[in-house]
């Protein structure tokens, strides 16, 4: 059943997931399932985990008649790797377009937008001859960073499964989520106004910022039903990261940084997805409902770091961690988000509108041409393998 589901819902790579990654994913599965068995005192707290490799790069829990299955996508892991390379090593002016043109092409294929896919395919070719960014594989610290970000996503999905399985677990997670969602916004409008001017040269009065904060609070209130379980599982995933770091003698600050960057990178991916749906159709600003919800999740999780430090009795100064996360946020803005939102998307959207003739309605969705482009890039063959069971 899961094989049929994957074959018909994803653009699969002809190869099975890479053997060199499988060990990592087995580690994640073993760690999460060990926690589940210990917490729930039950061997039945085991979820089948399958590893797939698809252009859709989606991690999900799929609830079938036969029971839930956690699907993790190797290509999502590679996406984290790509964003982390940009974050660490994206120095040259061409690194962002070289990397993101490929990702936009891939997202456009999945969205069925042929002309957008071909446009970014061609754009990527422009930068192909330029020197590539350094690879992460040679940097053990960076390899660990990416592993922890992936573990965050993996554990988040595992959290959803456990919430289905155990009413006790579900109730405890939802209580935690309620507390997180109810926590007051302590951002000071005067301080925010000062920082905007200092860092970005943006003039915005404290009164305007306070009004924006109030609007954001109203949006958060409206989004609470959607956010509740997601926030619960983000909190659980951070808990898993901290447990993993403790067991493996890893600095626990890496867990906080990984949880922060994982959400930022998923948000960056969704900027691209929004860009694909907007290009040639409306103003391209990368925003969407999903992006807003990811933004909320990221802020809410960050807000509880001091409390988590206290609960876990970690020897971390909350102020120092705050400064470290701020530094990571600034670096991610500089190397990824700002380049993506304020340079790459607007510039390429403008070129698209200049180079590509006015779109006719039938050009907007051309499944067969998208599929041919996917095949040319190595995805979606009819012989495609669908998945690998990690516990086999």
């Amino acid at each position: 059943m899961i094989s049929r589901y994957l074959l018909h819902t994803r653009l699969l790579h002809p190869d099975l997931p890479n053997q060199s990654f499988i060990a990592n994913y087995r580690t994640m599965q073993e760690y999460c399932s060990r926690f589940a068995t210990n917490f729930l005192k039950s061997e039945s707290a085991q979820i089948p985990v399958v590893l797939t490799y698809s252009l859709n790069r989606a991690a999900e829990i799929v609830k079938l008649d036969s029971g839930p299955v956690l699907v993790y996508d190797q290509f999502l892991g590679q996406t984290f790797n790509t964003f982390h390379r940009l974050y660490l090593f994206g120095e040259e002016s061409w690194h962002v377009p070289q990397t993101l043109s490929k990702m936009m092409c891939e997202e456009a294929i999945c969205a069925g937008r042929t002309k957008v896919a071909l446009f970014y395919f061609a754009l990527r070719a422009r930068f192909n001859e330029k020197a590539r960014m350094r690879k992460i594989v040679s940097d053990k610290g960076a390899v660990l960073d990416v592993f922890l970000q992936e573990l965050f996503v993996f554990a988040h999905e595992y959290g959803h499964f456990l919430m289905e399985l155990s009413p006790e677990f579900r109730d405890s997670r939802r209580s935690a989520a309620e507390a997180i969602l109810e926590a007051p916004d302590t951002r000071d409008p005067d301080e925010t106004s000062r920082l905007l001017k200092e860092k970005y040269g943006i003039e915005q009065s404290p009164e305007e910022i306070a009004a924006e904060n109030a609007e954001r609070a109203a949006q958060l209130e409206a989004a609470k039903p959607t956010l509740q379980d997601e926030v619960a599982c983000d909190d659980f995933a951070l808990f898993i990261l901290l447990g993993y770091c403790k067991e493996n003698c890893i600095d626990p600050r890496k867990a906080f940084v990984a949880s922060f960057l994982a959400l930022r990178n998923i948000r960056a991916l969704n900027y691209l997805k929004s860009g694909v749906s907007q290009i040639g159709m409306s103003d391209v600003d990368g925003t969407s409902e999903r992006v807003k919800l990811l933004q909320f999740r990221q802020h809410l999780l960050r807000a509880i770091y001091p409390l988590v430090i206290q609960v876990f009795e970690l020897e971390i100064d909350p102020n120092e961690l705050h400064h470290e996360i701020t530094r990571c946020s600034d670096q991610h803005d500089d190397k990824v988000d700002n380049k993506l939102l304020f340079e790459f998307l607007p510039a390429t959207a403008k070129w698209f509108s200049e180079w590509v003739p006015k779109l006719a309605a039938e050009d907007i969705s051309e499944f067969d041409k998208c599929h041919q482009l996917a095949r040319a890039m190595g995805w979606g063959g009819e012989e495609a393998n669908s998945y690998l069971r990690l516990d086999s």
């Binding site: 059943m1 094989s3 049929r4 589901y5 074959l7 018909h8 819902t9 994803r10 653009l11 699969l12 698809s54 252009l55 859709n56 989606a58 991690a59 999900e60 829990i61 799929v62 609830k63 079938l64 008649d65 294929i109 999945c110 969205a111 069925g112 996503v153 988040h156 999905e157 959803h160 039903p225 959607t226 956010l227 379980d229 997601e230 998923i266 969704n270 999903r290 919800l293 990811l294 309605a361 039938e362 907007i364 969705s365 051309e366 499944f367 998208c370 599929h371 996917a374 979606g380 009819e382 012989e383 495609a384 393998n385 669908s386």
Partner: protein
């Protein structure tokens, strides 16, 4: 290696869309595989139906998609992992008839 001899399309609906889900349920388990995907990005409250493309199912899919578009309710259709949108979504029955015989061997 996994082989598959029938062709199917994925339809995504709101879990609360009892009317559309009911129509799909009537097609029977031989034609429809239901799943509730829960993606990392959220997308809460979504039901996915994998529907075999066949003479019996095409009109039902066409009706559901047309109704959802008209009433501006949530519907997404994907084929082989690629989203169907725009004109092709509005004329989904014609598209499905054109791929009905496109079987995977």
């Amino acid at each position: 290696m996994t082989t598959e001899t029938t062709n199917a399309v994925q339809i995504e609906l709101s879990v609360n869309d009892e009317e559309a889900i009911g129509r799909l349920e009537k097609l029977g388990k031989d034609y429809v595989l239901f799943a509730e995907p829960d993606h990392f990005e959220g997308d809460v409250g979504v039901l996915s139906a994998l529907v075999t493309i066949a003479t019996a199912t095409i009109p039902v899919i066409g009706y559901i998609v047309t109704e959802k578009i008209k009433s501006k309710k949530h519907v997404r259709v994907k084929y082989k992992g690629i989203e169907i949108s725009g004109e092709r979504l509005s004329n989904i029955e014609a598209f499905l008839k054109s791929i009905e015989s496109d079987r995977q061997e």
